[in-house]
């Protein structure tokens, strides 16, 4: 049987692939437990959680200054949250619009998609020049926010487009025929059914915005977001506190993913029923 050779080969390949993919992260996680007098490289002199304490400001003052991530972390989360809300709302609304063919729907589609196609550096630079010309101050909650929406909105839109693509329109018509207004129909029928998709669109928008770099670099102005702040510190000198921070943010992302997974599980249980209905 060919699978006797093929399957182990594929398995080996997959393991290698995963190692390659997660190797840097594993190294980073191990090094974050370096002792106080160790540097950002092997060997580990002694295991400790010193750099975590240092990061959270619980260590005695040392020669290494504390990472300036507190404010920028909050800024990044707020920015990602704002972006998520606006992009998802826009994405759902425009995908809803694209369910019916309208004049100019082709160009409109590509105009939306353009936001994720054009290089971030270009848009960022363009936005910086534009805001200078117009005399608008650059800020993470203003110019950067607009670019984050331009960037993440196409993703949310595409996710919702795929969801609506396999959406059974007759359930909406059934609701209308029962005397329920279009607005109530959307609220009571359409939205609950597409909710898993909305959740995915939100996750996309959040993670894309949270670690956006190029667009933010040119448009954030004086107050930095998290990726910029981190970049700023390690362009000078690297200590294992950055690794500790990396581990903590990864844990944060995992928490988000777990919440997403749980919510999805709850709703796909209902979606499974839905396909069951179509089978009958």
């Amino acid at each position: 049987m060919e699978s006797r050779i093929l399957r182990p080969t594929l398995a080996l390949y997959t393991v290698a692939f995963l190692l390659f993919l997660y190797g840097p992260m594993i190294v980073l996680a191990i090094l974050s437990f370096q002792s106080i007098d160790g540097g950002p490289q092997f060997p580990i002199r002694d295991w400790s959680i010193y750099w975590y304490q240092h990061l959270l400001g619980m260590a005695e003052t040392s020669r290494v200054s504390q990472l300036p991530v507190g404010d920028s972390l909050i800024r990044s989360i707020i920015l990602a949250f704002m972006t998520t809300v606006v992009s998802t709302v826009l994405g759902v609304m425009s995908a809803e619009a694209f369910r019916t063919k309208f004049k100019g729907s082709g160009p409109a589609f590509y105009l939306i998609i353009l936001g994720m196609m054009v290089p971030g550096v270009l848009v960022g630079l363009g936005m910086a020049l534009l805001s200078n010309t117009l005399g608008i101050a650059r800020a993470w909650w203003g110019t950067s926010f607009v670019l984050h929406v331009v960037y993440t909105y196409p993703f949310a839109f595409l996710v919702m487009l795929a969801i609506f693509n396999r959406f059974d329109r007759t359930v909406e018509e059934a609701s209308l025929s029962l005397g329920v207004s279009p607005a109530q129909t959307f609220r009571r029928v359409t939205f609950p059914i597409i909710f898993p998709g909305v959740l995915s669109a939100m996750l996309f928008s959040f993670t894309l915005s949270y670690d956006e770099f190029a667009r933010t670099l040119f448009t954030a102005g004086r107050d930095l977001t998290l990726p910029l702040a981190i970049y700023g510190t390690f362009s000078v000198e690297i200590y294992p506190n950055i690794f500790a921070f990396g581990v903590l943010t990864t844990l944060f992302s995992f928490t988000l993913l777990v919440i997403y997974g749980l919510l999805m599980k709850r709703f796909t249980a209902k979606a499974a029923r839905f396909t069951g209905q179509e089978d009958a």
């Binding site: 359930v171 018509e173 059934a174 609701s175 029962l178 005397g179």
Partner: protein, 338 residues
């Protein structure tokens, strides 16, 4: 009373409906029979307001409803795929309209509960309210869809091939139940189907839709025995339609029912019968009946039905020619082109 006057609808170059004139009287079970693609579903969607006609008027009791948004039309619609709300339980599905409709929404939970239960009882689903719609069978879903529509007491109920998704046994039972439920409520049903048996069984009246027009609208027995045109006859799947010249009965199209043609050897046709020659192709045994297929001289396919209890056909050899004959009064003559 629902009235359609000269209703037309086209999609690009395709004409789906071409000046339909049609009436569904009060308290009637109306079947609408048509081949697939004949515009049956379009007709229902126009009435329900999911689409608008290009021309013509739709009215209920003289009040025009075309142009009104569909949620204000007060017309029930039962979908072929049932279109139940997958995220709601059976009773929530049924209560949905009562609770959320624009006009006269019920706020009183006890009343909603009472009416929901009454509706479920009407369709024979007492005690199923708490189930998920995925946890019930196809026939039960059909009933939920019906209860959900009926509980809102619409002025007319449109059913789009409601039995199409059910298996044969269930279909027969739902036929009877649909009829009984309608009689109890006294509301008009407009039932669209592609099956002539279903249309004839269910309908107090049956209308035939073909080429975007209503060909005939009559009681089932009148329609079956006296189709007014070739199109109507063709949809009943019980009439041979052929050129009158084949049996020397003048010109134009004539029709003779499958069960009214007899077969004998050529040259032995009894006195006073109209006759035509045809080649025997093959037979088809259906259980209580047997169908025999013949090819007439101009290529028309003719079918003769033989009932098992009263066989009247002689032994037939494939490929041989026979004389088909029938009484002159069995013939229906159609005027104009088919």
């Amino acid at each position: 009373m629902l009235t359609l006057t000269r209703v037309s609808r086209r999609y690009g170059d395709t004409v789906a409906l071409d000046g339909v004139n049609f009436t569904v009287p009060e308290n009637t079970y109306m079947s609408l029979l048509g081949a697939s693609g004949a515009g049956k579903t379009t007709l229902l969607r126009l009435i329900a307001g999911f689409e608008e006609p290009d021309r013509g008027e739709i009215a209920i009791n003289g009040e025009r409803i075309d142009g009104q948004p569909s949620h204000l039309r007060d017309i029930g619609f039962v979908f072929q795929n049932f279109a139940l709300f997958p995220h709601l339980s059976v009773s929530e599905n049924v209560a949905f309209g009562l609770r959320h409709r624009t006009h006269d929404a019920l706020k009183n939970e006890t009343e909603i509960k009472d009416r929901t239960e009454a509706a479920l009882e009407l369709v024979g689903l007492t005690g199923f309210g708490h189930r998920a719609v995925s946890a019930i069978s196809g026939g039960q879903r059909q009933r939920v869809a019906l209860a959900r529509t009926l509980v809102c007491e619409p002025r007319i109920v449109l059913l789009d091939e409601p039995l199409g998704a059910l298996d044969a046994n269930l279909r027969a039972r739902m036929c009877d139940e649909l009829k009984a439920i309608r009689e109890r409520l006294g509301v008009s049903f407009l039932h669209v189907t592609g099956s002539e048996t279903e249309a004839l069984t269910m309908g107090d009246k049956v209308a035939v839709l073909a080429d975007g027009k209503i060909m005939q609208s009559d009681t089932p027995d009148l329609l079956f025995n006296q189709p007014m045109n070739a199109e109507a006859a063709r949809h009943l799947n019980a009439w041979n339609i052929f050129d009158a010249g084949l049996c020397g009965a003048g010109q134009g199209q004539i029709a003779v029912r499958f069960d009214q043609i007899d077969v004998c050897a050529e040259g032995q046709v009894p006195e006073g019968r109209l006759t035509l020659g045809a080649k025997y192709l093959t037979g088809e045994f259906n259980g209580p009946t047997a169908l025999s297929f013949f090819r007439a001289d101009d290529g028309t396919l003719l079918q003769i039905i033989d009932h098992l209890s009263q066989p009247r056909l002689p032994q037939l050899d494939e490929g041989a020619r026979y004389a088909l004959h029938f009484a002159p009064d069995a013939l229906r003559q159609f005027h104009g082109a088919a």
